[in-house]
Amino acid sequence: MTGNYASAYGAKLSRAEVIAAYPITPQTSIVEKLAEFVSTGELNAKFVPVESEHSAMAACIAAETAGARTYTATSSHGLTLMHEVLMWASGARLPIVMTNVSRAMAPPWSVWVDHMDSIAQRDTGWLQFFCQSNQEVLDTIIMAYKICESKGVMLPAMIIEDAFILSHTSEPVDIPDQEMVDSFLPAYAPEFKIEVGKPMGFGSLVKPDQYMEFRYKAMLGMKAAHDRILRVEQEFKQVFGREHGGLLELYRCENAEVVLLTAGSVAATAKDVVDSMRSKGVPVGLARVRAFRPFPHDEIRALGSRVAGLGVLDRSYTFGAAGAMFSEVKASLYNCPKRPVTKNYIAGLGGRDITPKTIERVFEDIQLVTKRGEESEVEWVDVAGLPRWWR
């Protein structure tokens, strides 16, 4: 099934009770499928069609505040329109789960993959999971509800699917039995909720004398999410026999001299390249950031202290700085006594293919700068007019 159907099945198996959504390419087939489940009675949920993504998130916030498990899906401009209310969802400590089909921002107008939309939401207080396969999309939605609804976390989560590469491409996906999911994921039972006959004020004004304590608590929630992600994945593995690599998946990093770190579907291509280079005796490995929030700082430090070179391939760019993942990785490594050489590669924007050939050249470049030192810290890859990289 496609990544979008994997998302829809993930929400259905998790028994989402309220689904509010607005269509946007390439997300629409997720909520179309869910609307079908609701209309046929396969899913007992309230489907709320709204007039914008801002309203979709607002409706989820209201329903979640009333104690319902909610789900929505969006993409690109839809996600960025939600920005304000994303902050509300996390500040109100509502464990909403949403799929974002990651798509480039316009202009230039594009419907294809890059991570600019998701990366731009990194400060909203949402957990962010980048997926590599359609199976991972389905599994992560189920896990996300369990992680986010736990008492120590109580924050929302964004499941990130690469546009078209995952959203519209079919792969074999195992759909777990409903009874197994039910035993793994209990019904949502929040401590506080809106109740008729019990008037309470939610989200009221807090003066400077008390504001910081609430934000401190949200910080603790995100911090607790780190261990919770690992524990829930182990429980998931016991029930369903699958795991996806915690916060930072390491692929053939043992005895690797240089490692490429990236996120999303390109990691699958990069694993193939690692296999072929390893078969020729080249000691390379791949690290895949699965959780971008909370960021796997400790895991990066552990990896960084045992490799000579660490390249970071970002599928987005933060103007005036560098790739966002690269900045985070460097920040993690700065206080390590033993640090690798690092370099940032910007690739695959607006759906440009990141081919095995490109990744191989990136690996060769990391090896080179590890030996020789870096000439430029951030490099754009496969841009026509840049002779070094243009194929």
């Binding site: 500040g91 401590e191 506080f192 004020g201 009221s204 004398d209 008390q210 609430f214 608590k217």
Partner: protein
């Protein structure tokens, strides 16, 4: 007094509704209704942004616990029967 982060809930939740917060004290000018001129059109009631107008047999009665004196009722009244006067004057 500032409470420790351990003593507060996850997010600001008040165990009382927001109507317990009497906001009418913000007012510097107040609406005065000429009930004889009122045509019972209820436009003032519809426009009041804080639901601080109660209709008594179709005629507006201002709830001064919440009226902030914005003057929208006076501005919208087609029969000009609501005038704004300075607080403290008669």
């Amino acid at each position: 007094m500032t409470k420790s982060y351990e003593e507060i809930p996850l997010t600001p939740i008040a165990d009382m509704p927001s109507t317990m917060n009497i906001t009418g004290l913000w007012r510097v000018i107040r609406p005065v209704v000429d009930k004889k001129k009122c045509k019972k059109c209820t436009i003032c009631w519809k426009f009041c942004p804080d639901a601080a107008i109660v209709l008594v047999e179709g005629v507006p009665e201002i709830d001064f616990r919440f009226c902030k004196g914005c003057g929208i009722c006076s501005h919208e009244c087609p029969s000009k029967c609501i005038v704004m006067v300075k607080e403290g004057s008669d």
